[in-house]
Assembly symmetry: C2
Homo-oligomer: 214 residues x 2
Amino acid sequence: MARPRKPLLSRDRIVATAGALVDAEGLDAVSTRRLAAELGVSGPSLYNHFRTKDEILEAVADAVSAKVDLSMFDEHDGRDWRTALHDWAVSYRAALTDHPNIVPVLARGPGRRPAGLRVADAVFGAMVRAGWPAAQATHIGALMRYFITGSALGSFARGFVDDETAYDPADYPHLGQAHLLAERQQQVDEGAFETGLRALLDGLAVRYEAAVRH
Amino acid sequence: MARPRKPLLSRDRIVATAGALVDAEGLDAVSTRRLAAELGVSGPSLYNHFRTKDEILEAVADAVSAKVDLSMFDEHDGRDWRTALHDWAVSYRAALTDHPNIVPVLARGPGRRPAGLRVADAVFGAMVRAGWPAAQATHIGALMRYFITGSALGSFARGFVDDETAYDPADYPHLGQAHLLAERQQQVDEGAFETGLRALLDGLAVRYEAAVRH
DNA sequence: ACCTGAACACCGTTCAAGT
DNA sequence: ACCTGAACACCGTTCAAGT
């Protein structure tokens, strides 16, 4: 076959197929040979479009970041900083829980991913505009990211096994019914996220009062 | 050689060596062959002590969890719930930043790891004793974990490259000096952690007032 | 019970060769 | 420029064989 007149591959097609494979079968299912087979080419062909497999996964992660709604940070949106932060956090978490298998890649910081940086930029800009000092605005972007990605990655309940015998009450005196948590995994995660988000925003509001009063 | 009179390996020795390798060279450096070589045995020997490589890494992560100070949750410690939560969070984060390379494994939830579960149990127990309703106590354990592991994993600044030319101000209007962040990476992360932790605790204190007043 | 070497079915990546 | 097959240096894991 060698080179066809029209390229068989493009970066977008590789990223889309890799993303679908990650969603369907997890991060471990993505090998260059498997991904290439899914695309109808041979493994090494991918290296004409990406330098490493890791760059492909970074691009998949960035495509998820690109889905995060940022309209609440628009200059003329009208939402106050607190509401904007809340709505953004909910949108961000939704984007991550829609694609849980790529979260481990995404959670490692915005890195060089354009969409990830765009998110950081939007939060920072909106907080400064709302009156936050620049240093605090940087902190807010970072700490919100910690909480949101942490919640998408570290599902508390996911770890528990749906088997009572797995937990000896003598070892974990307060977690005697931990197995129940596995059943209501999503409720716990969503409740913890909502509680944490509100607590975070309440706490920031206190600091905001102190900050703008310089 | 075959079987020696005294076992060459033990689970503890494997975990200790794997942990040292992870710390020194990162998660990717740990292959069964490499780890075995470090231990002076051949690769398959590890399978007499662990079922999979993943179980070894889980054990390494659990050993880090075991270093987290939990004394502030002791029944007779005397610290109020808020101070205990703060001190625990600081200790937890310190344990993680001491061993950053294993954090991706640890961040995926407590799973079946005994020490991870012991941490969850201690937090839950102390919050209930302090007067929090059980459902809220579960949420607090989860959301604190989200924030702490998220902060250890997703260093905001780490991602930025120490090269001004990497960021076109036209793309990220508010991050024009993002390259500066790389220089003060630790300060940003620590500041964001401290700010977020205090905000979280302030916010929880508000909810506590409402909760205990049933 | 606990170690070994050989083997199986994979990996990511490089590279010369083809059009 | 963009694809190919062959090759290199690896993987995790299984298993029969040894003591």
